[in-house]
Amino acid sequence: MYSQTINRVRRTFGAGKYRDPINYFLRSPTGLVGLGILLVYAFLAIFGPDLAPYNPLTLHLNQELLPPSAAHIMGTDEYGRDIWSRILYAIRLDMFIAFAAVSASYLIGVSLGILSGYLGRITDNVIMRIMDILLSFPSILFAIAIAIAIGPGFVTIIIAVIVVSIPGFARIARSTVLSTKNDLYVTASISQGGSKLHIMFQHILPSSISPTIVLYALSLGNAIIVAAGLSFLGVGIPPPTPELGAMITEGLQFVVSGQWWVSIFPGIFIVLIVIAFNMLGDTIREVTDVTMRR
């Protein structure tokens, strides 16, 4: 079973004789560092509630704005809540938003892209023009519009991220389909009597997985930025729920007066996770795209 899975990975990501994707990945420092950071985040997200020393929501009005110390390693905020505990909960929330939203948009986007590329003509035009409309709005602006329409909250962020990520997946999937569609082995399959469905599932879908998975990893980072950005602007997760972007906003007024820790620590966590997703995505791209490899 294990070796079968490994073989499947090898085939999905490396179709030439010069590439052993797993081997290549294991020798790439960028990929390993990115993966390492993400594993740490995953650990924190899963075991956050057990690791958190304090309740993230309980107010301690006599302990407000304490600098980092042994008791509060990242200090406390203006209501005396432990920032480290809040960050642990926030990571959990943000990662969930990112994975849920990007996975949903992956499924929708890739399906639309494959349909569009494979069926062509009117279907293609309609789908791609809708994608163009979605793309023509700046993503944050679009999310704000959604937030205004249905009110701020968890669902708003997820919908916003899904909507802004779909066009990317659709475009990449469509372009892969367009190039695969004219490959000789597809023609061969047609000449054997292969139906559209057969060709779609046997030839086209497998070949569009590896390019879109790269975008998947990169989009996770982007999703976190959008989620945090929306909350930062006040149209995302409402207080008091801990969310990295919202936490930065809360601490903003204190940065000038010297209580830097309130904003800086959530900020560092956002930066790290986005960098990690990008490193991972870039490495996957190098693994799957033989022309980029040295």
């Binding site: 000789l184 023609t187 061969a188 000449s191 054997q192």
Partner: protein, 716 residues
């Protein structure tokens, strides 16, 4: 390389015991082993061998452009008696950074273009598409000879007329020229600074048969005019023998035979002999062509003894001894690296065992393929210009084509690039919808909108594609690839039968033992094996018609014979109808009973194979046949200069061949020629077909026929 060492100064180039290794993923590849040869003033030598034998490495070593992971391990190369390549200089860019290598680069600068110039394989792409031809050529004079722009243009003009091109070419962009013209521009650039030596790496590979000989002739003419020395590198031994004084055969990075070019019929090394035998030829009676079994040895280990040992039918124990691959002189100018020197005459005597016989097809059908007035028109991409233009531009790929194929017949369609032969094969293979006309397959008129009927007919027609590297999904194992048509058409009852069908298909395709291949992926197979897999995949559907679109053109020379023989075998044993598409009339003759010649979407001549080749009645067919036989005289004299002016046009005159035809008169441009019946199923579409046919019947093609005589005989 402190001081130049004077040696071999009577040679333009002398390669002495050259060995080159590559380092690839930590493994050493012995690309060249102990290669020695010399080339004198205005001499031409040909280097022949299949891919991977080290021909290109040798060319790159001589011109100092080896890649970074390669190293010269021994030997020297002398240019006019001076060392240009040795172990230290390394023959690559690797050392460029230090001062010593900069000194080497300085010396090379003098030698490149001025001393040695190289025409690369795929040279057609080496012109810059954004610059006019004149500018590209002038650049050489400006930067290398320090001329002013005006002087350079003047010289460029001289140069272009020197290679027989009109002056308008100066201001043309590369895309406006035909392949042959581009190749001539490249040649002009190579000789611009009068180098002592030109290396031509497969100079004619991507050109059409007729044009090939024009280029060959041009190279020959320039050689005598400018006293050039030329190294011709090619896989085509008969073509090379036309332009070279001596031939050098390479195998596994070694020179295994050197012989005068007019002697290649008497090649003594078993490999050379088999190479000559493995190609179908036109100038002889059809005999069995035999593939060379096996594959070249891996070059990652040092081979002692004869590198051909494993594939050789005559091998003995002493072949593996040290020094068995040293060259020995066996005649004047003839050296061979074989200790056995077997007598190989008997190989030639086999008479066409592979003769394509018409199969007895016990069926009520009289025609399995019937193409009736079929045309295919592609609309050009519509942009602003096309919309505003008064007429929409179209490309006529097929123009009113009709043909009929009876059951069990083997038919070949011959034509050059752009003749529409692939379009026709796709229509017959039910992959393209014709713009007009009817297609009947197995007696049924094909309705291209009716999916059910298409699916049913597709089981009867199977296509083998040109490119075996793309026709199999790289993510599919051999087992999965072959099982695909079975699954699509549910051609099995149970799992047992399913596996049995796959296994027997592989066995038939001579991919045995079957278990070794089932789980292999395409990238683990050679080109020939892949082509066998795609034939096996077509055969599991038990088709009645096999459409083969240039199945051998992408394969290595030594593999071609194997695929042709295999196709012949299955066609004969299963009673299939074969529709074979090719640009190579010699291979068409080998597999088919009947030939159709296609020119720009029109069938210009058709007839039974032997009749059509021996007594062609259309000027185009004559040119094709003459070029394939190998011209004895000058191409421009034998065929007439006009025939090489093949450029794409938007509008063709009534007879599409008229602009290139040496016999054309005004009538040809205004009046469409009728399809003329010459008897015995031989038809030709030419106003003069009758006269030409009478003349060719009298003297036969290949007996010194040329267009000038023909012109007189036809009464023009």
């Amino acid at each position: 390389m402190e001081e130049f060492e004077e040696k071999y100064s009577d040679y333009v180039l002398y390669v002495e015991n050259l060995s080159v290794v590559y380092t690839l993923k930590g493994r050493t590849v012995y690309a060249l082993t102990d290669v020695s040869f010399g080339i004198r003033e205005s001499e031409a030598i040909g280097i022949v061998g299949e891919s991977g034998c080290g021909k290109s490495t040798l060319a790159m070593a001589i011109s100092h452009i080896l890649s970074q992971n390669s190293r010269v391990t021994s030997g020297k190369i002398y240019y006019r008696g001076k060392v240009i390549v040795d172990q230290e200089s390394g023959a690559s860019f690797t050392l460029r950074e230090n001062s010593k290598s900069r000194k080497i680069e300085q010396k090379l600068k003098v030698i490149r273009w001025n001393g040695i110039s190289i025409i690369f394989q795929g040279a057609l792409d080496s012109l810059n598409p954004l610059l006019r031809i004149g500018e590209q050529i002038s650049d050489i004079f400006v930067y290398k000879a320090g001329m002013t722009r005006e002087q350079a243009r003047e010289r460029s003009r001289e140069l272009l007329s020197g290679v027989g091109l009109d002056l308008w070419v100066m201001d043309a962009f590369p895309h406006q020229l035909s392949g042959g013209m581009k190749q001539r521009v490249i040649i002009a650039m190579a000789i611009a600074l009068r180098p002592g030596l030109i290396i031509a790496d497969e100079p004619t590979t991507s050109l059409d048969v007729i044009t090939q000989y024009r280029i060959v002739e041009e190279i020959n003419r320039l050689r005598s005019a400018f006293k050039l020395s030329i190294i011709n590198i090619s896989h085509d031994i008969s073509l090379v023998s036309h332009i070279s004084d001596r031939i050098m055969v390479m195998y596994a990075g070694r020179v295994i035979e050197k012989l005068p070019s007019n002697h290649f019929e008497r090649a003594s090394h078993p490999y050379t002999h088999m190479l000559v035998q493995s190609l179908p030829r036109l100038d002889k009676e059809v005999s069995v062509i035999s593939p060379i079994r096996g594959a070249p040895p891996s070059l990652t280990r040092v081979i002692t003894g004869c590198p051909f040992y494993e594939r050789c039918d005559f091998h003995q124990d002493r072949c593996t001894a040290e020094g068995a691959s040293d060259l020995r002189v066996i005649g004047s100018g003839h050296e061979v690296a074989c200790v056995i020197l077997p007598v190989m005459e008997k190989m030639e005597k086999g008479t066409r065992a592979a003769a394509p016989m018409d199969n007895d097809f016990s069926s009520s059908l009289t025609e399995v393929i019937s193409i009736d007035h079929v045309s295919k028109i592609f609309a050009k991409k519509t942009g602003i210009r096309e919309i505003t233009a008064s007429k929409r531009s179209e490309i006529v790929a097929l123009d009113d084509v009709s043909l009929v194929v009876s059951p069990g017949e083997t038919v070949a369609l011959v034509g050059e690039t752009g003749s529409g032969k692939t379009t026709l094969s796709r229509i017959i293979g039910l992959l393209e919808v014709p713009s007009s006309g009817t297609v009947r397959i197995m007696g049924d008129a094909v309705d291209f909108q009716n999916g059910k009927q298409l699916k049913k007919l597709r089981t009867a027609v199977q296509t083998i594609f040109q490119d075996p590297f793309q026709s199999i999904n790289p993510r599919f194992s051999v087992r999965k690839a072959i099982s695909e048509p079975l699954i699509i058409n549910k051609l099995y009852r149970d799992q047992n039968e399913f596996m049995e069908t796959i296994k027997s298909a592989l066995t038939d395709a001579e991919l045995t033992p079957v278990e070794d291949y089932l789980e292999k992926y395409p990238h683990e197979l050679s080109g020939g094996q892949r082509q066998r897999v795609s034939i096996a995949r077509a055969m599991v559907m038990k088709p009645k018609i096999l459409v083969a679109d240039e199945p051998i053109s992408m394969l290595d020379v030594s593999l071609r014979a194997g695929i042709l023989n295999f196709m012949n075998k299955i066609v004969r044993t299963l009673g299939l109808t074969l529709f074979y598409i090719t640009h190579d009339i010699a291979s068409a003759r080998y597999v088919s009973k009947k030939i159709y010649v296609l020119y720009r979407g029109t069938i210009v001549e058709s007839g039974s194979t032997e009749d059509l080749i021996k007594y062609s009645a259309h000027p185009y067919t004559i040119a094709l046949v003459l070029s394939s036989i190998g011209l004895s005289g000058l191409a421009s004299e034998t065929l007439g200069e006009k025939i090489f002016e093949a450029t794409e046009q938007d509008h063709y005159p009534k007879c599409k061949f008229a602009p290139r035809c040496p016999l054309a008169v005004d009538r040809c441009f205004t009046e469409e020629p009728e399809k003329l019946d010459l008897g015995a199923g031989h038809y030709a579409k030419c106003h003069f077909a009758g006269d030409i046919y009478n003349y060719t019947r009298k003297i036969g093609i290949g007996n010194g026929l040329n267009m000038a005589d023909l012109k007189i005989k036809v009464g023009r």
